[in-house]
Amino acid sequence: MNDTHDAPPSSPLRRRLLMGVPLAGAAIVGVGFARMLSGMQKGSFDPHKINTPVINRPVPDFTLAAQPPGTGFSAQDLRTMTKPVLVNFFASWCIPCLAEMPVLMTIKKDIELWGIAYKDRPENAEGFLRHSGNPYTRIGSDREGRTGIDWGISGVPESFLVTPGGIIRWHTATPLAPDILQTTLLPLLAKLNSP
């Protein structure tokens, strides 16, 4: 750097341009930050978002034991379905799951719900469903959390919309809330049901 900066200027213009490089670099980064901030305000940019690589992919292979009071299921069961299914990971130790239950109870008339009890003791999960109500048609027990890893979940609750043929169309890593239903899930379902 001493050669370029402290040598007698070979070309004044080049020297001037060189001194402008830090400003140009800072300006580019600054514009980037400004776009991120405005994106965050509008909701189009979320640095904390975790994107899921499973969207539009077939469901991973798995077979789950029955979790009372439901019957277990496998990837094959999902693939042979003729209607969309919402697969919901839950656990008795998860407080947001408890908060999500009333919402699940309201949408079970719109879509079939299959539950997966994630890293949970069967007796605890059963007690949980006895208290909060059972929105699920079938329930599998993922005691070790292996299936959860294959699905790429980062926590519970998470929900996946699986269309006939066993393709994951939509995913959310947050508890389902009425506004997500109205803005995203139900319109998507309407679109899927009327091709």
Binding site: M1, N2, H5, D6, A7, P8, P9, P12, R15, R16, M19, G20, P22, L23, A26, A27, V29, G30, G32, F33, A34, R35, M36, L37, S38, G39, M40, Q41, F45, P47, H48, K49, I50, N51
Partner: protein
């Protein structure tokens, strides 16, 4: 008396004074009006006084549990211990901004008080630049982050503080770290003043360096304290996570380290001037961006501050003004700065250039790794995370040559040096380093850790050799050596000590990579074996605390049947915040840490099992000890006679500069 209203008023007053401080001295400097110039120190002191009153008011509100103040409601509670009521003032966004501004005020006042031997115009301009920054951030504090905002009706009690922050280490971490960040505002202001004046010379280098060294010492301590806190509070067994907030403190540290080295080249050789000015601007720009972008929520970090994009826009505008303005000034004025002479590649200044190249490359790598995820997300809508594997793979190969040159550099004379005589003086050191490398190849797994061990030993030994060679120890009678030692400038000892500190830290980091750990789920009475120690979980007891319930384990650690330590890791459940904290138990003998964490309880109540995490961390304390030694080295060189007594004078050609009477 010290009501929140007074504090609010004092903050507004400080803002007005800062605006005056920003404008009046600059007018005085351009019109050569001595009356206006002499106002600068007075305004800086006045601003500091107003800020002190404001800060005291906030502390008073916290101590007296004034829950009509929003900030106190959100972060304090009656049951909080007094120490944390005081330190909790800067444990949140608004309060920490006020602390940041207060430290900036102290810096301005320090230039006013200790800068008496500076030329009047330069001092006035430096104070004015500090005033511009202060005015901007005081306006930010008043308009978007007012710590004195009231709530009505006032609640009976506050919401309390995050239990993780109730820790003495974290209580003093922010002030020290911020002093490091903000301290670099002074070299920045000197750089801007020099650009306005269009003149950088040896005297400028000598004036800037003590401020940069002081800020660097604080930043070093601040980073070390933060790392130590995460080591013993978070209970993950780690000490550095390459988190954006941590990187935000490391980046200015790297450029700041480059700055204190390149400033010596300006001072001794009148060379690298433009580069040094740019480093001074860059270091403070990185400090600013780091501290404030973290709060805008752009960087995805585990350090949660209340994220608010609206606040972020104000900050970004402010950053654009300060950083963009200074870089625009740099682009205009730097080409006109006169250039120094050439110098030989093999010389002290040549080694310092290498130091700068490597430090700035490491910095570039860290900046890239930190900024990559948000920019990938913005440009290509892809979420990725950059972590330890990337940083390890990129920084270590750049750091190793840096350590190599670091050993030789201080022994090379200025201007023109020969490598051969230096190597001759270092032959014992070379042999010892080779030996250490051989031992570490045998004892340490992995090539990079072994190389790092060798490099660390090399740095420590060369810094010792540097001093022993200078005082001709063992080459002349001891009394003669002592005589010579007394005659050596303290900065020589400072450099040697700081370099040895780097070596000690690196040795700690390298050996820490050999740490062993084990996670088990055991019943009381069982014994586990790790790193040659027998760890027996004797019992687990429940005990109530003031605002939590604790589950405390007793772990007996013995080696070959001899008792080494009784350790008591515990878990605290805070009911108010629904939060559990782990209290790590650490037993250290300064060569290794035994580190024990109690996890969840499993099993039935009649026959419980407990998750226990055991770590054996060799040389862990050296990482922070080394940082402390670095800072002591910096302080020692600050006490050098040249800085204490010598009032540096500009060369005779400086006649065109007006000096204040």
């Amino acid at each position: 008396m010290l009501s929140p209203e007074l504090g609010h008023y004092a903050l507004a007053l400080a803002c007005v004074l800062a605006f005056a401080q920003a404008v009046v001295p600059l007018i005085g400097a351009s019109t050569r009006d001595i009356r206006l110039l002499t106002l600068a120190p007075a305004l800086a002191l006045g601003q500091l006084l107003a800020l002190l009153v404001s800060f005291l008011c906030l502390i008073n509100a916290a101590v007296t549990d004034d829950f009509s103040v929003q900030n106190i409601v959100a972060n304090s509670a009656v049951s909080k211990p007094l120490l944390y009521k005081i330190t909790g003032v800067w444990g949140n966004h608004e309060g920490s901004v006020l602390l940041w501004i207060l430290i900036l005020g102290i810096c301005g006042a320090a230039v006013a008080a200790f800068g008496r031997n500076l030329p009047g115009i330069l001092r006035a301009r430096v104070i004015a630049v500090l005033g511009i920054i202060a005015a901007g951030f005081e306006l930010f504090c008043l308009t978007t982050s007012n710590p004195f905002a009231r709530v009505w009706p006032a609640p009976m009690d506050g919401q309390g503080m995050n239990p993780l922050l109730q820790d003495p280490g974290l209580a003093f971490h922010p002030p020290i770290l911020y002093t490091g960040y903000v301290g670099f505002a002074v070299p920045f202001a000197f750089a801007i003043a020099a650009l306005i004046e269009g003149r950088v010379d040896a005297a400028w280098g000598r004036w800037v360096r003590p401020w940069a060294v002081a800020a660097w010492c604080f930043l070093t301590c601040g980073i070390a304290l933060g790392s130590w806190w995460s080591y013993y509070v978070l209970g993950w067994g780690g000490y550095w996570f390459w988190d954006p907030v941590e990187n935000a403190s490391l980046i200015p540290w790297l450029t700041g380290t480059a700055l204190i080295h390149s400033a010596t080249v300006v001072e001794k050789r009148e060379s690298l001037k433009i580069w040094t000015v740019l480093l001074a601007i860059a270091t403070f720009s990185f400090s600013l961006s780091g501290t404030f972008l973290v709060r805008s929520g752009i960087l995805n970090s585990v350090h949660a501050f209340a994220n608010d994009p609206a606040r972020g826009i104000f900050i970004l505008a402010l950053l654009a003004l300060v950083i963009g303005g200074s870089l625009a000034l740099f682009a205009c004025r730097a080409p006109a700065l006169t250039s120094g002479g050439f110098f030989a590649p093999v010389s002290r200044e040549g080694a310092l250039v290498l130091n700068n190249i490597f430090l700035c490359s490491i910095c570039a790598v860290v900046v890239t790794g930190t900024m990559y995820p948000p920019f990938m997300s913005l440009l290509f809508d892809r979420t990725i995370s950059v972590g330890k594997p990337f940083f390890d793979a990129t920084t270590i190969p750049l750091a190793l040559p840096l350590f190599m040159f670091m050993g030789i550099g201080p022994m090379l004379p200025w201007k023109r040096a020969q490598l051969w005589p230096v190597i001759q003086r270092l032959w014992i050191t070379l042999i010892l380093t080779g030996l250490a490398f051989a031992i570490s190849l045998w004892g340490v797994a992995g090539v990079f850790p072994a190389l790092s061990c060798g490099a660390a030993v090399w740095v420590i030994l060369t810094s010792i050799t540097d001093v022993t060679e200078r005082i001709r120890l063992f080459r002349m009678p001891l009394s003669g050596s002592l005589q010579r030692a007394r005659g050596l400038p303290r900065s020589v000892f400072g450099t040697a000590l700081a370099h040895a500190g780097v070596g000690i830290s690196v040795l700690g980091l390298a050996v820490m990579s050999q740490a062993q750990h084990k996670i088990t789920e055991i019943t009381p009475g069982t014994t586990q074996h790790l790193a040659g120690y027998d760890w027996t979980l004797e019992k687990v007891e429940q005990a109530p605390g003031p605002n939590y319930t604790a589950m405390t384990a007793t772990v007996k650690v013995s080696r070959n049947g001899h008792l080494v330590a009784m350790m008591h890791p515990s878990r605290r459940s805070f009911n108010a915040q629904h939060q559990t904290t782990t209290e790590v138990s650490i037993h250290t003998n300064l060569l290794a840490d035994l580190y024990c964490v109690l996890g969840d309880q499993h099993g039935t109540d009649a026959n419980p099992t407990y998750v226990l995490r055991l770590h054996y961390n060799p040389l862990a304390p050296w990482m922070w000890l080394g940082a402390l030694i670095m800072a002591v080295g910096g302080i020692l060189s600050l006490s050098d006679r040249r800085i204490r007594v010598g009032a540096p004078r500009r060369a005779q050609s400086a006649a065109r500069t007006v000096t204040s009477p």
